[in-house]
Symmetry: C2
């Protein structure tokens, strides 16, 4: 059965452009996974009559209407009042919610203003859920065969309420008869167009699985989506396509779903018991920062140096002045010498070095902005230092990001 939902976000802050409506995006993604169609998003300000009109129109055309925001204790918080009026459901005091609010303030050892208890009033016949993070309760309310759901605005409160209470409620009440599952394959070291070329035939053949290709600086994601009667069947469909994609892309694939390149690299270093050090020029510490974003990275990351000047490359890494003079600081021989020098001056098994021109200035005709050399040296493979050249486009931040990704990818291929 086709079930349609729509999302009404309440908040003048959104209409003023001060807040981006990420809630609508999150909820839409979750509805899609449940097999529920979302045909409309709308945003209205903190204005009861406009919200009321929007609620009426929404309930006429959709099975499920979700509001976000406007559940707080102040006079600006109009959502519950508007739902109560629009659907003629008087507000009733909910003891359980009131106890939850009192408990929240007790735990924080903060005095509670009595007006906060305004949030314990919910429309008659609605089920309310205690907020585990804040005070505004989420509500679900049956309107004939349709459902109205009110969620708190802060994403940190909305997400747990939706996951814990609303999803089970919707699944029980609105049976769609199918699920939609999405899984992402994450690849690095290939352009979006190259990935597209390699997998387009696979995607064309597997009609049951839809795919989207999305690029991020230095990386490409392939999102696979399948619709089936059960989660198990949907997963089986995805796995079938995924297998072919993995074969086509080979070592370009580093992980799935929320995996990051730094996580993939860290896992391999840990598994092989290898220790890493980094030397950066143009990325200015971004590479090391990404590596150390992973909890427990101290087990495989020894040290990083950021040698921004020629002098520090010579002093810190033992790069010979001759090499820099002959080839320039941004050159293959310098990158190589940085990695090999760092390896010698550290106790690490692998040294990763980067030198390049992040821009916006500093480029020349022969060495343009975006030119980057990356070298990886290994203790066990002396004289076999790998070195690559890359030419990135984009602004300074984008060049830094792409260069760090390329370095992580070179490291991954070295392991």
């Amino acid at each position: 059965m086709n079930i349609n939902a729509e999302i009404i976000s309440v908040g003048t802050e959104i209409l003023l452009g001060r807040l981006i409506n990420t809630n609508a995006s999150y909820l839409s993604g979750r509805f899609a996974e449940m097999g529920v169609n979302v045909f409309y998003h709308s945003v209205v300000g903190d204005n009861p009559s406009r919200l009321s009109t929007a609620l009426e129109a929404a309930l006429r055309r959709s099975d499920i209407v979700v509001t976000t925001g406007g559940l707080g204790p102040t006079v600006d918080d109009i959502t519950i009042g508007a739902i109560s009026k629009t659907f003629s459901r008087p507000l009733v005091f909910n003891k359980n919610i009131a106890a939850g609010i009192k408990n929240y303030f007790g735990k924080k050892r903060v005095k509670m203003h009595p007006y906060v208890l305004r949030q314990a009033y919910v429309p008659k016949g609605a089920r309310a859920f205690r907020n585990s993070v804040g005070t505004a309760p989420a509500c679900v309310m049956a309107c004939g065969k349709k459902t109205v759901i009110a969620l708190p605005g802060p994403p940190g409160e909305l997400v747990p309420a939706f996951e814990r209470f609303v999803i089970p409620y919707i699944k029980e009440r609105h049976k769609t008869g199918f699920v939609i599952l999405t899984r992402a394959v994450r690849a690095a070291g290939a352009a979006e167009s190259a990935v597209n070329r390699k997998i387009k035939n696979i995607l064309a053949m597997d009609g049951a699985v839809k795919a989207g290709i999305y690029s991020r600086p230095g990386e490409v994601d392939i999102a696979l989506t399948a619709k089936a009667e059960s989660e198990k069947k949907a997963l089986a469909l995805i796995k079938k396509s995924e297998k072919k994609i993995l074969r086509a892309l080979g070592k370009k694939v580093y992980g799935f779903d929320s995996d990051t390149l730094e996580y993939a690299v860290g896992k391999r270093l840990l598994k092989k018991g290898l220790v890493l050090s980094t030397a950066e020029s143009c990325t200015g510490g971004l590479l090391a920062s990404r590596i150390t974003d992973i909890p427990g990275s101290s087990r495989y990351f020894e040290k990083g140096v950021i040698t921004y000047s020629d002098k520090s490359k010579i002093k810190e890494l033992g790069v010979s002045e001759k090499i820099i003079k002959a080839h320039g600081a941004v050159s293959r021989p310098t990158a190589r010498a940085m990695a090999e020098g760092l390896l010698e001056k550290s106790d690490s098994d692998i040294a990763l070095a980067l030198t390049g021109i992040a821009g916006p200035s500093g480029g020349t005709r022969r060495k343009p902005v975006g030119l980057v050399y990356i070298a990886a040296a290994r203790k066990t493979k002396a004289k076999k230092t790998k070195c690559i050249e890359r030419r990135f486009t984009g602004n300074r931040a984008s060049v830094k990001r792409q260069a760090a990704s390329a370095a992580l990818d070179l490291l991954r291929n070295t392991l």
Copy 2:
């Protein structure tokens, strides 16, 4: 006169939660600045009849209706067709737009498929603007006293079209009689609540200027908004409040609008002709990466070291083993020794050092996750090394970010 606008975003990708609707946020912010009220946002999929219904409802209640997206050359791109049908304006071929599209492909030296020229058809009576970045033209169309505007979906195409063509057009056609101006004061080294306490009386008195206080990790923004008949008058109102806020917050203020802490610090280093080096532990390179995000930072940044292990602190920075044994790697004496050691081993005038526990594990009762020590040593002020202790909450990424901000702020106060 009150002018109302509303935004209809067209795109199934948004309704599936795969794309966040940042265009609506950007346009709303720009409308607010022009003194135009935005009362509704809505999103519809790539479905002509639903878009048509949304367009009709929007033009009934608003003076300006803006659509975003759906202007491309494929069959999924339905916006121009829907506008044409809804408002009974047949499509006519626009030679100028066609020439622009041909020119675009010529420059890229890519063969143009003839169907791309579908984008050169615009509703009769509409003005179309060449797209400087892509191929889909932006259109504006008068409907009686009201206006319908169609903008391309990619933000990189939408923003220049809106800034260059649409804003002047709206200002000419819909005179609001006033402007709204916003300016942000950016502060660091103080909590949101402390900033609020210090400035709330000022804000209460200056009724003409509205203020919002927004916190980011380790920083606080105060956004001042004024409404007046002219830009000059609005700016004068803001400047009046701003002056009082600057007096109340003193050195906590580091800049305005899009200034960043790293930019403010870099500017001062450059002005004073001082050179900086950094030593990081828990931030893992994030501090150096932020410093080197600023173009030209190579003029004042010498080098950075990331000493993740005790051994590297001893070897790279000359921290004595005794200090680490007696006080621990995360301690005031270690931070101090790191900064002073780095200063000695570099040619810099200032050394900034950081040591802490980023989490999620590694904390103890006495030294919890989020504990960070930051030291700043100066060549000209030997033995006068400044050292601060901070206790941050939040996840690993947030602790890293707050610690780097606190270090930049300490450096700023040292200069």
